[in-house]
Amino acid sequence: MAKIAGGDKSAMRILVDRYKEKAYYLALGMVGNSDEAYDISQDAFIRVFKSAGKFVPGSRFFPWFYSIISNLCKDTLARRMKKEAPNINIDDCEFLLVDEATPESTVMREERAAEVRRAIMKLSFEDREIIMLKHFRDMSYDEIATLLKIPKGTVMSRLYYARKKLAGLLDEFN
């Protein structure tokens, strides 16, 4: 980070190559739109470069980076909500797909994926965040706790309520 703060281009590139996919997929899970997720991931790196000097040496990079991504996602969603007619139809954004290896027909796979996508996007930001981290990034409770700066017990309770809400939004569970 010290090198980045000093404007070292190769250090910037190493950081970007290491975290670009993580940043993109984390943002994608929150906003559900690939173009917006791409922009958010890039804006997050720009913010990192601009404030690299403020980074406390010895502290962990990824939780800090994640908080930047999370804030950018919140801003994007707030802007989307502010528009009288949101110009992005989230139902059309196929950011999550059912794995082709599942023994289901293509139609059934697509229907199921669409239903899960819709249900996830109906969750609050906090619920969606914890669901995406656990179910789609496969993180442990310790990793989530570090990332969100919350105790492990809170991860468990947030997951319980988020799962309950998600199941309530899916037809096959009702």
């Binding site: 994608l28 720009i46 009288e84 110009n87 196929e94 797909l97 789609f136 468990m156």
Partner: protein, 148 residues
């Protein structure tokens, strides 16, 4: 431990995040609570459903061009900052000299000063109006994603 606590432990149980003691305690309680058993089944099924899903793949070319695209953004951001600083300094300098050398100059005809002041005021009003319209359109245009 309360019923609510066992419910919350349900998440830890299906994710394998409970300690061996907590696991045993939870399993003992589970036998006596049919509602919790039902909820356990729901959560297991939910995990199965989401486990069969994955993020849509991103074409490799997107990752190949990622750094170049990010660097362009950085460069342009820097360009805009310098351009803005330059314009602000230039406008401030021009305004200062306009006031000093023209409006405060007693040798200039008063009618010319009024004409120029009206012209400047008109330009400012028009610019504010256009900027306001653009901002309003960008936040309210429901067709701005449609390619024309």
């Amino acid at each position: 431990m309360t019923e609510k606590n066992y419910k919350i432990m349900l998440s830890g149980y299906i994710d394998g995040e409970l300690s061996p003691e907590e696991n045993t305690e939870f399993e003992n309680y589970l036998k006596s609570d049919p509602e919790l058993q039902k909820e356990l089944e729901t959560f297991r099924k939910l995990k199965e459903v989401t486990g069969a899903m994955k993020y849509a793949d991103v074409p490799e070319v997107v990752w190949e061009n990622y750094w170049a695209s990010l660097y362009r953004k950085l460069e342009r951001g820097l360009g805009w900052i310098f351009l803005s600083i330059g314009v602000i300094i230039f406008v401030a300098f021009a305004c200062y000299h306009l006031v000093q050398d023209f409006f405060l100059d007693t040798g200039q005809p008063i009618i010319l000063k009024i004409a120029l002041a009206c012209g400047i005021l008109g330009v400012i009003i028009l610019m504010v109006s256009i900027i306001r319209e653009r901002v309003f359109a960008s936040t309210h245009d429901r067709y701005d994603e449609v390619q024309r």
